[in-house]
């Protein structure tokens, strides 16, 4: 049997363009500003956009600010929504005189039927009434246009809502492409006692072509990129309780990184790789999270195929635009609103043209003064979120012909599932690695 007679398989390549500049905060200087600045930037950008969409929606109605509202006059108002939630944890609860029985188990979702929405612009705020605006769908921080009129009670009765809708998408020729695959994996959680190193090693071996026969290797050669979407390490809580660490504990602290670095070096030697920080990674807490420090990966950074990226992460491969986060934005939406599945939340953020509307209200965020980096200007072709419970995907079609592949990437540590996307037709499938040896 001849083994080395055939020529070596070449891995396919694709052009990469990083669009993370918007999410970097190295140039920002903190001068004691508050979050009002980022809300102003958001309102201004979105209002300009919505104003241009109003003629197509309801051109006959006048536009006015919240303070100019007159009772009974039908008009359109723009503003940021604020959802007043009874169960939302508030730091002032600690100081309240009435010691109401606080629930011992924190609810995963803070919704309550008494929640109400308020619309706010620079001039003032007005409580919203009517059933058109569902309090279970909207969250604080979304900018919308509302058509309605002021009631005698001083509230604004909403008759119709205008959201920004999907942003315009740059048309990319998808035909006459060859099969090239991108692999997404998230939630490796190396360092967790239940994580199985064999599973990730199997994934690495498959991608680098060390598994399987020629056909399998041929398939692996078509993988052009790997994206690790957050939560790659997990440091045990016992080590982070604020006490001085003994040298034995210090080495325990570094072990997950060493393990991760060894695995990433194997991958980086073989194909381009992006690693994003997540909520359990050693990066800053507030969004946008900055790239993980290169010193954590002494082995992998020697390769130029290794890229440490921000969270959220935006990039282009062969002019197909990818945009995604490690999950904090969707997890926050889950706490403050409801939907039938996570893909619904993804779709909503696209329709609101904002990656993380609840930032900075309930999601940590850097206080930008002149811009809101989470606004989505151009519709991505692939929109992903990591660290979710299960793998879900769908193809979203917009009114102007936009086509977006929405992907929820499950936690690899718990499910053993990675996601593979074909760049030719934006089709997606799951890659499952099991290590149970069935008897």
């Amino acid at each position: 049997m001849e083994v080395d007679s055939q020529e070596q398989l070449q891995r396919k390549q694709s052009t990469y363009l990083s669009l993370d500049e918007n999410f970097e905060i190295q140039k920002e200087v903190y001068r004691g500003q508050q979050y009002s600045q980022i809300y102003f930037a958001r309102l201004h950008m979105m209002r300009t956009l919505l104003y241009s969409l109003v003629p197509n929606w309801k051109s006959h109605l006048p536009v006015c600010t919240v303070l100019e509202l007159k009772e009974g006059k039908e008009c359109i108002i723009f503003g940021t929504l604020y959802k007043h939630m009874k169960l939302k944890p508030c730091i002032l609860d600690e100081y309240s005189k009435e010691r109401s029985v606080a629930p011992l188990i924190k609810p995963h979702n803070f919704m309550h039927q008494d929640d109400y929405l308020v619309l706010e612009d620079e001039s003032g705020r007005v409580k919203l009434g009517g059933t058109k605006l569902s309090t279970s769908v909207y969250v604080t921080g979304v900018v919308v246009a509302l058509h309605g009129k002021e009631t005698s009670a001083g509230a604004f009765f909403v008759e119709d809502v205008l959201e920004a809708g999907l942003p315009p998408q740059i048309k990319r020729p998808l035909k006459s492409r060859e099969d090239k695959y991108v692999v997404f994996v998230s939630g490796l959680s190396i360092g967790r006692s239940s994580s199985n190193p064999l599973q990730f090693q199997l994934l690495v071996d498959h991608i680098t072509g060390h598994l399987g026969d020629e056909e399998e290797q041929g398939l692996a050669a078509e993988i052009v990129h790997l994206v690790i979407v957050g939560n790659s390490v997990e440091i045990s809580r016992g080590l982070l309780n604020g006490q001085n660490l003994a040298s034995k504990d210090q080495s325990r602290l570094c072990e997950p990184f060493k393990e991760l670095d060894i695995l990433l070096t194997q991958i980086a030697a073989s194909l381009p790789l992006d690693i994003m920080p997540g909520s359990s990674d050693p990066a800053n807490f507030a969004l946008p999270q900055q790239p993980l420090n290169r010193c954590l990966f002494p082995g992998s950074t020697t390769y130029n195929t290794f890229r440490s990226c921000t969270n959220p992460h935006c990039f282009e491969l062969d002019s197909i635009r990818f945009l995604g986060t490690s999950g904090q934005n969707i997890d926050d939406l889950t706490k403050y609103s409801e939907a039938k599945d996570k893909l619904d939340f993804l779709e909503r953020t696209l329709r609101w043209r904002h990656l993380a509307p609840t930032a900075p209200n309930t999601l940590g965020c850097y206080p930008f003064t002149d811009r809101d980096p989470f606004l989505i200007d151009s519709c991505p072709d692939v929109y992903f979120v990591g660290n979710q419970e299960k793998y879900e995907t769908c193809l979203l079609k917009g009114l102007e012909g936009q086509l977006v592949r929405l992907i929820c990437i499950p936690r690899f540590c718990e499910t053993g599932v990675a996601v593979v996307l074909n760049m030719r037709n934006l089709e997606c499938h799951a890659l499952t690695f099991g290590t149970q040896i069935s008897s």
């Binding site: 001068r31 004691g32 500003q33 508050q34 600045q37 930037a41 300009t48 620079e122 003064t369 002149d370």
Partner: protein, 122 residues
């Protein structure tokens, strides 16, 4: 100084522990010049006579500062707290809000306060 004190008498009735005379005093109390108390045994709030003897009735409030304060208070350009006036002007310019050019020349000309009126007070 003596003439000044006479003017002070005319302006303000001398009362012990009076608060009316401090009505227009600058909230940023500048260090009182010793000259202010020469030859005067009347209690004077130092702020009023700190500017080389002239009456500091306008509370470091000249026309330019008035114009800049109106710029600070204008909600169309966003909140003014935590951002310098020039940064706020430039931001408004970048966003296409067309802030008046005189503000820019005033701020770049110097001799005006670069921070908004709430700086240090909030």
């Amino acid at each position: 100084m003596a003439t000044t004190s006479k003017n002070m008498n005319v302006f303000y009735r001398q009362k012990k522990k009076s608060t009316t005379s401090t009505g227009k005093k600058s909230t940023k109390s500048p260090s009182p010049k010793h000259a202010a108390t020469f030859g005067s045994d009347i209690t004077q709030p130092p702020g009023l006579v700190s500017h080389g003897g002239s009456l500091d009735l306008k509370d470091d409030f000249d026309e330019q500062e008035q114009v800049l304060r109106q710029f600070d208070m204008n909600m169309a350009y966003g909140p003014c707290v935590g951002i310098t006036r020039l940064d706020r002007w430039e931001r408004a310019q970048r966003m296409g809000l067309n802030p008046p050019k005189e503000i820019e020349s005033l701020l770049k000309g110097g001799k005006v306060k670069l921070e908004s009126l709430f700086d240090g007070r909030v």
